[in-house]
C-alpha cells in the first residue's frame, strides 16, 4: 500500500499517544494525528484545544482551533483561561501531551515560531507563539512536527519562542520551568528523540528509503545517529483509518 510522507508523519505521531492522554492539539497535521490516535490505538485519549474545548466530537476536521467544529459535542466549552490552566494545573497538566510545530528547532528542542532574521526588522515574520510557548512551558511530554531542511534545524534560533531543554541538562529547572520538554521530533525523514542525560537531540528512527546521512544533510547541527533504526512503516489498518475516517476530504493530508 502506497502512502505519502505526510501520512507517515501523522502515524508516527499518533503512535506516541497513549490511552488516557489528554492531547493538546494545534491545527493541521497535529490535529489529524490526535484524531488518528483516537481512532487507531488510544480510544480513551482526550483531544483538547487551547480555545477551551475538551473532548470534542470531531465529525469533521477542524481547520483551526477555534473552528466551530471543535465546539460540537464536547464535554465542556470554556475559554483560553481554562484551557491553559488545565496544562499548568499540577493534577491535569501531567497527563497532557502537546503537539507543536515550528519554523526552527535547535538541538535542545527549543522552538522558533516568531520570526526569521532580526526580531524588529525580520526577513520573515511568522505567526508568533499562540499557545506554543505555554504548552512547551507546562506539559511533561511534547511532540514536534518539523520539515527536515537545513535552515529549520539551525545551530542558533533566530528567536526562542517555546522552551525545549533550553541550554541542556537542568536548564529548565534553573529557569523555573516545570520538568518536561520535548519527547519526539517527527519530520518528513525520520523521528528524533532527546538523550536522557545530555538532553541533546538524537536520531531515533529513519523512514524506509531514507538514510541517516540524508537526515544529517538536512540539518545545520549534527546529531548522534548511532541509535537510529528504520521505523515501522504505516500499516494498512492505520492508513485505512486515516484516509477513510479521519481525513476523507483530504483537507490536511
Amino acid at each position: 500500500m502506497d502512502y505519502t510522507l505526510k501520512e507517515t508523519m501523522t502515524i508516527m505521531a499518533a503512535r506516541e499517544i497513549r490511552n488516557g492522554d489528554i492531547v493538546f492539539c494545534g491545527t493541521g497535521i497535529s490535529m489529524v494525528a490526535a484524531m488518528a490516535a483516537k481512532q487507531i490505538s488510544a480510544p480513551d485519549s482526550i483531544i483538547f484545544f487551547e480555545t477551551g474545548s475538551i473532548d470534542s466530537c470531531l465529525e469533521e476536521i477542524p481547520l483551526a482551533v477555534a473552528d466551530p467544529r471543535v465546539m460540537f459535542g464536547a464535554a465542556s466549552n470554556s475559554g483560553l483561561l481554562e484551557a491553559f490552566a488545565t496544562m499548568q494545573n499540577p493534577n491535569t497538566g501531567d497527563r497532557v501531551i502537546g503537539i507543536l510545530g515550528a519554523a526552527q528547532i535547535d538541538k535542545y528542542g527549543n522552538l522558533n515560531s516568531t520570526c526569521i532574521g532580526n526580531y524588529f526588522q525580520p526577513k520573515t515574520r511568522l505567526s508568533g507563539s499562540g499557545g506554543s510557548c505555554d504548552v512547551a512551558s507546562f506539559v511533561s511530554r511534547c511532540l514536534i512536527f518539523m520539515q527536515h531542511e537545513k535552515r529549520k534545524f539551525p545551530i542558533k534560533l533566530d528567536y526562542l519562542t517555546s522552551p525545549g531543554y533550553l541550554v541542556g541538562p537542568g536548564a529548565r529547572e534553573r529557569a523555573g520551568l516545570k520538568p518536561g520538554g520535548p519527547t519526539a521530533v517527527i519530520t518528513n525523514l525520520g523521528v528524533m528523540r532527546f538523550d536522557n542525560d545530555t538532553k541533546e537531540m538524537y536520531l531515533a528512527g529513519y523512514y524506509p528509503g531514507v538514510t541517516p546521512q540524508n537526515i544529517l544533510d538536512n540539518m545545520e547541527f549534527s546529531v548522534d545517529i548511532s541509535r537510529a533504526i528504520e521505523t515501522e512503516p504505516p500499516t494498512e489498518r492505520e492508513l485505512k483509518i486515516l484516509r477513510k475516517r479521519v481525513d476523507p476530504q483530504k483537507l490536511v493530508l
Binding site: 519562542t161 523555573g176 520551568l177
Partner: protein, 325 residues
Amino acid sequence: MNTAQDKVMTLEQAIASYVTDGCHISIGGFTVSRNPMAAVYEIVRQRKKNLHCYAHSNGTGVDELIGGGCVSRLEIAYGGNGKAAPTCIRFKLAIQRGEILFEDYSNYHMSLRFHAGAMGVPFIATLSGLGTDILNIWGFSKEMRAKDPKLPNKKAEVIDNPFGSWTGASKVVLIPAINPDVTIIHVQKADRYGTCRIEGLNFADIDQAKSAKNVIVTCEEIVDAAELREKPEYNQIPFIHVSAVVHVPHGAYPSACYNYYDYDPMYLRQLSNFAKDDKLYKEYLETFVHGVKNHRGLLNLVGQEQLKIIAADARTGYATGLDRR
C-alpha cells in the same frame, strides 16, 4: 453610564462614540470564529488611526484593522488565521516593513493579562515563558514605556517564588494587566441593556469585556431581557460592563458564529489572495469596505446564496459538509 438603560444604537454611532484615534482597543473572537467583523469594517470605514491593539489570536479582525491602516501599535500572541492565512498577511507585511510597533506575548499571557485587568490587579503570575525570548526581548523599549502612562513600565517581571517552593515553583513570571479603552465583541444573543449570552467557546471575550472601560457588543439577535434571565448562569457578561449594543446579523462574517453560520472559506481565501498584493488589497478595501455603507452592504456583495451555503446546521452548529479545500 452602564446602568440598566437601553443601550441599543447603530454601529456607526457606537464606533464613532467609543473608538477614538489612538485609543487602546481589543476585539473578541479567535482566528476564524466570532471576530466582530462588522465593527472592524466600520472602524476601517471611519478611518480611525493609531489604534493600540491588544490581541491574543484575533485572526481576520486584527489583520483587517492593520490592513485598513488603523493600527500603529500591536500587542499580540498569534497572527495566524487557519488554512487561508497560516500567517496573517497584512500583519506580516506591516511588521516586515516596519510600519507598526509590536510586542509579542503568548496566548496564555494575553488571556491572563485581560483576566488581571478584569480583576483589577496590576499583574498575574504564570510559569509560562521562563527562559524564552518572549521575556528577554521587548518590542516596546523601557524608554517608550516610561514615557507612556498607558503602558506598564515592564513587559514582564520574573521573581523568585515568595512562598519558597510552594506548588513546586522556584520562580514565577508576573505579567501586567490590560485595561483597554474599548473592547468590541460579537455574540449570539444580547438584551438591550448589554447582558450577553455566548454560545460555543467564549475564548477570552469575557475578560476582554470586563477589563475594558467601554464595551461594544454586536449581536446576531437582540432578545428580551426576560428570556436571558430565565437562565442567568448562561449569561457570561452582565449589562453593567456594557456601553453599547448593536444588532448586526452576520456581524462576525466572514468569521464563524457558532449555531448561526460557519466561516466563509471562499471569502477568506480570496481575501488572502488580495492581501498579498498591495494594489489588489487596496481595491478590495475600496470595494468591500469603503465602497459599501455598512455591513449589510458587504453582505449584499457576498450574496444570499453564499450566506445560505455557510448557514449553520441545527444539530452541529456549523455548516456540515461545507467545501473548505
